[in-house]
């Protein structure tokens, strides 16, 4: 079991505090929003040191490639400056799951591998292609291995390609939860519960909107977290407001409920934003009251992920000519 020595993060914390200045703050986000053209908004990113030197990333239409590159750079930085690679790898493995999902979908529908594989994960992209094609899973984690086997098993019986997402997402969060809980550090353990709960609430809201039956919801909800699963099961038939009212009596109640009440326009997107913001608030709170430790380290990763999410929302909105108010409504809370 990895035990985190907070003081060993002294160098990393110092570096990241200085680096936080370059994150997109409110000011830069406002400038991106006020830009009349998508290109203009895109150029603001160069101030935040997004690497646009590369000729192939000059145009706004390449923004997805730029964001992928930025995420990869962030992980490389954290691996370089952090004292425990295992801590970063827990988060990196999420990208492996994404790649495996893409590969399995291609494999099961006998199509070529689409060019959307990410290079951010722990496993090499091309190696992963070979592993899935040759069904040689030995290098993969145990949880991922059994998930892949399960996908083949269920798919051969039902022929339903939705099972790929269902099974692998569940395995992903299970592994994420187990590994975060496996690190001997209070913050990482709390984070595991918050992420599971927030993911469960989001999934439940979406599944309710699709009128999925109780058995299905029971199958997909993640294990762990602080919210009792009965709370979800009891609300399958009830209106969404009654579910949100029940949430008020849980650990998260007060914080989430207040921002939900202040929403003028309550829909799935804005509710998800409230939940994401809650996670970011927790991060900020934990990271800012501490000088040296793992909290500011992980908070930087989340800040960067939220930032990339925001950039994607703004640029997609600008390219499609959405109004600023509509874009702003969906923007996530920024860390700085």
């Amino acid at each position: 079991m990895l035990k985190v020595n907070q003081d060993s993060y002294a160098y990393a914390t110092g570096l990241l505090r200085a680096r936080e200045l370059k994150l997109l703050d409110k000011n830069r986000i406002d400038r991106m929003l006020e830009a009349t053209k998508a290109e203009e908004a895109y150029r603001v990113l160069s101030e935040a040191e997004y690497g646009m030197d590369n000729e192939s990333l000059k145009s706004v239409s390449d923004f997805e490639a730029l964001l992928a590159e930025e995420m990869k750079k962030t992980y490389a930085l954290l691996l370089e400056i952090g004292p425990h690679d295992e801590v970063v790898e827990v988060f990196q493995k999420r990208y492996d799951y994404f790649n495996v999902k893409v590969l399995l979908k291609a494999e099961l529908s006998n199509q070529d591998v689409p060019p959307i594989l990410l290079d951010t994960g722990l496993q090499d992209r091309d190696e992963l292609v070979r592993i899935i094609r040759e069904r040689d899973y030995e290098q993969l984690d145990q949880i991922m291995q059994s998930a892949i086997v399960e996908v083949y098993d269920v798919f051969s019986r039902t022929g339903d390609s939705q099972v790929i997402d269902l099974i692998l997402d569940k395995a992903l969060y299970h592994q994420f939860y187990v590994e975060l809980k496996g690190i001997k550090n209070k913050f990482m353990n709390e984070l595991a519960d918050i992420i599971v709960d927030i993911t469960n609430i989001k999934m439940f809201i979406r599944l309710k909107a699709l009128n999925k039956p109780l058995e299905f919801i029971k199958k997909v909800l993640l294990e762990g977290g602080l919210i009792d699963k009965e709370l979800y099961f009891n609300n399958v038939e009830a209106p969404i407001d009654s579910f949100l009212a029940d949430i008020e009596f849980t650990e998260y109640g007060k914080a989430i409920q207040k921002s939900i009440k202040s929403l003028d326009n309550r829909n799935i997107q804005t509710l998800e934003k409230v939940l994401d913001d809650h996670l970011m608030n927790y991060m900020t709170q934990q990271a800012k009251q501490l000088t040296i430790g793992i909290e500011p380290f992980i908070a930087f990763l989340f800040a960067k992920e939220a930032e990339i999410k925001n950039v994607r929302i703004i640029l997609t909105g600008k390219i499609n000519g959405l109004s600023n108010d509509l874009i702003r409504e969906r923007l996530r809370l920024v860390y700085v």
Binding site: A10, Y11, G14, L15, R17, A18, T291, I292
Partner: protein
């Protein structure tokens, strides 16, 4: 029987060792914490070197105070020392050693926070130093008490 093992001379030497050893350990830890944080900031922005070095040096004073007390104690040692006299010098080493140890580590943390502060707002160097100096006061008080006990 005690007097045979712990002579006044030996006790006084213990006092000198505690005064320097314990405060020195604290200063090493404090300066190291501030230094590592400083190195992180300098990786991003080398122009902050001047401010970083001042803040990093602050937790080293505790070891200097420990050194002073150890020096004074050693100066008082002689072969024919009474047990009581040696025991008094032993006790004199404790304040500067123990308070120095703890205040150096905490001062190191305040200095590391200060370094993070100036990485974002370079003009706040004055405030960063003042905050770290607040911790220095307790080390100074312990130095005075140790000097008074030596007499």
């Amino acid at each position: 029987m005690w007097e045979n093992i712990f002579t006044g001379q030996l006790l006084a030497i213990f006092g000198a060792i505690i005064a320097f050893l314990v405060s020195g350990l604290g200063s090493s830890k404090g300066v190291a914490l501030a230094g590592q944080t400083g190195a992180g900031v300098l990786t991003e922005d080398p122009s902050k070197f001047g401010s970083v070095i001042i803040l990093q040096a602050l937790p080293s004073t505790q070891a200097i105070y420990g050194f002073v007390i150890a020096f004074l104690i050693i100066g008082k040692i002689n072969g024919a020392m009474a047990f009581e006299e040696g025991f008094r010098l032993f006790l004199a080493g404790l304040p500067v050693g123990i308070i120095g140890f703890i205040s150096a580590i905490y001062q190191g943390r305040v200095a590391a926070s200060g370094i993070q502060l100036i990485s974002k707002r370079p003009e706040a160097i004055g405030s960063a130093i003042t905050l770290a100096l607040m911790v220095e006061m307790f080390a100074i008080l312990s130095l005075i008490i140790s000097i008074l006990i030596i007499g």
